[in-house]
């Protein structure tokens, strides 16, 4: 394996080029495989495409670069505390972006830490929402008949379908 490779270039689904350092790429299994491919082939001109749009890929790479030093070496408690604060700032975005872009990307790229963080952030944001807000975000239609709604209400008197 050539040790001179420090970063790899990938294409987003929109066709933009991104550079990601080797240590950061290690946070994702698929990226790691790509990395090995790049290192093993002597003259590989082909730039791998990642099925994530540019806007999301920027965020994913930002997360990887931030978390890479800790993931690769382990860190002290104060670092962990600092990283937690950074995560909160990092996840300050629209719930739709988290659900449809960050979560899907984390799932696709097998990034456990980001996936867990995004799930928790989405759950925290959804906690206070009404049923109709949830339906709107997830593009879900109310498919209960009025009898079924009545039955659910009987079981859980507090339930609201709005």
């Amino acid at each position: 394996m050539s040790s001179s490779v420090e970063a790899i270039t990938v294409l987003s689904s929109d066709g933009d080029e991104f550079k990601i350092t080797v240590s950061a790429a290690k946070l994702s299994k698929p990226l790691n495989w790509m990395l090995e491919d790049v290192c093993f082939s002597d003259d590989c001109d082909e730039v791998p495409t990642i099925e994530v749009n540019s806007k999301t890929l920027v965020k994913v790479i930002e997360y990887c670069e931030k978390h890479a030093p800790r993931a690769n070496s382990g860190a002290s408690d104060s670092d962990a505390e600092e990283l937690k604060k950074w995560d909160i700032e990092f996840m300050k975005m629209d719930v739709k972006d988290i659900l449809f872009h960050i979560l899907m990307a984390a799932n696709y790229l097998h990034m456990e830490g980001l996936y867990d963080l995004a799930c928790q952030t989405a759950a925290d944001l959804m906690k206070g929402m009404t049923v109709s807000q949830i339906r709107k975000i997830f593009h879900i239609k109310n498919d209960f008949s009025s009898e079924e709604q009545e039955q659910l209400r009987r079981q859980h008197p507090g339930c609201s379908f709005d």
Binding site: N53, L99, F100, H101, L103, M104, N107, Y115, C119, Q120, A122, A123, D124, M126, K127, V131, I134, R135, F138, H139, I140, K141, N142, D143, F144, E148, Q149, L152, Q155, H156, P157, G158, C159, S160, F161
Partner: protein, 396 residues
Amino acid sequence: MKISEDRNITFIPYDIIANILRRLPVKSLIQFQCVSKDWENLIKSPSFIRDCLYHTGRPTPLLLLSQLGLTPRYCFQLLDPQSKQVLEIQNPPLIDSCSDLKIVGSCNGLVCLQVFHEDYGLYLPCSSNDSGTSPPYLLLWNPATRQFRKVPRTIEDFNVRHRLGFGFNPIDNDYKIVKLSSQFAVNPVEVYSLNSGSWEEVEFENLEGTIRISSWTNAVNGVVYWLGGKQRRSDDCDYSLVVSIDLTNQVCTSIPLPDLGSKKSRRLKLILYENKLAVLAITKSSLIHLWVMEEDTCASRGRWIWTKRYTCSLWSTRLSPFELNAATIWKSKIVSRPIRIFGDADETKRFCLIDLTTNEFKEFVIKCRRCNVLDINNYVESHVSVANINHKELQI
């Protein structure tokens, strides 16, 4: 560009939705059942309910049962010993007029209650012809979803000599109540299954001699335990063993306790520690020993190993061994029922925690209603249903 993006991804895989939802509090889950039939089915599915229970972020407060001076005579509260926050919870219906109330057990967010009525003493033994009115009866209750179910009458009516146990059997995913006589091996044992919705009489191979069973019970990993002893004279019984009933194969075992020293100088308490059965022995000399029981998988079957895991003392505290009324273990800390110190106001609740690992003693005071804390149980918020599989509609 924006439009095509939105049109492209509007579908989120099922496992991602499930992973988000299992982090939500029960209140939100109940609400979000109304989103769609798919969401309702997901939230009600046994595998999702299980995932929720094992999600590490679930709050695990203590469930307090307190007695008030007036009607209603009982109230339930949730106490978080970390934040010292107390949350009043709504009583299940049917208990407001009761004269006595006991928690049989608390398991995966379900609480089994034994409810007595005023005229209990007059009707002993109860006649079994009019259903519903003759107490005592059993109630299964989920405080988080506020669902409850009145358990049907037992085959043979209750009397004061009966002992109860409540546990979850992970093998058949069923909650069970066990009723047996305090003079065990005399009367048949009855087992209620939430899934079948009915009681069943179970015969056990007689254990050697009659065993006296105490009301101390606990259940873990599909086995219900009671503290018991070989009977000598009518009220002289030293608890020297644990009687277990395995809910899967319905095998009854008598397990000797470890050598706990002189019988006269200690009090025993059956307790759970890290999902294992344990015994707390509190000695007159203010020492507390925690013995944990494990099955020895290497040795021949039926062998049990007791390990003295911790010893701590009350020496640095102002508690005497008689005042320490250990109720449960919460995150390696023994929780004692509140103590009263001269001068304390009625609404002052002085809780004591003793950390088994460090012997650190902590006391905190909570001001709440004028009440007497009768029982403290471990509790986890869940949306486990009290409805059985065969009868979807709840009996109220």
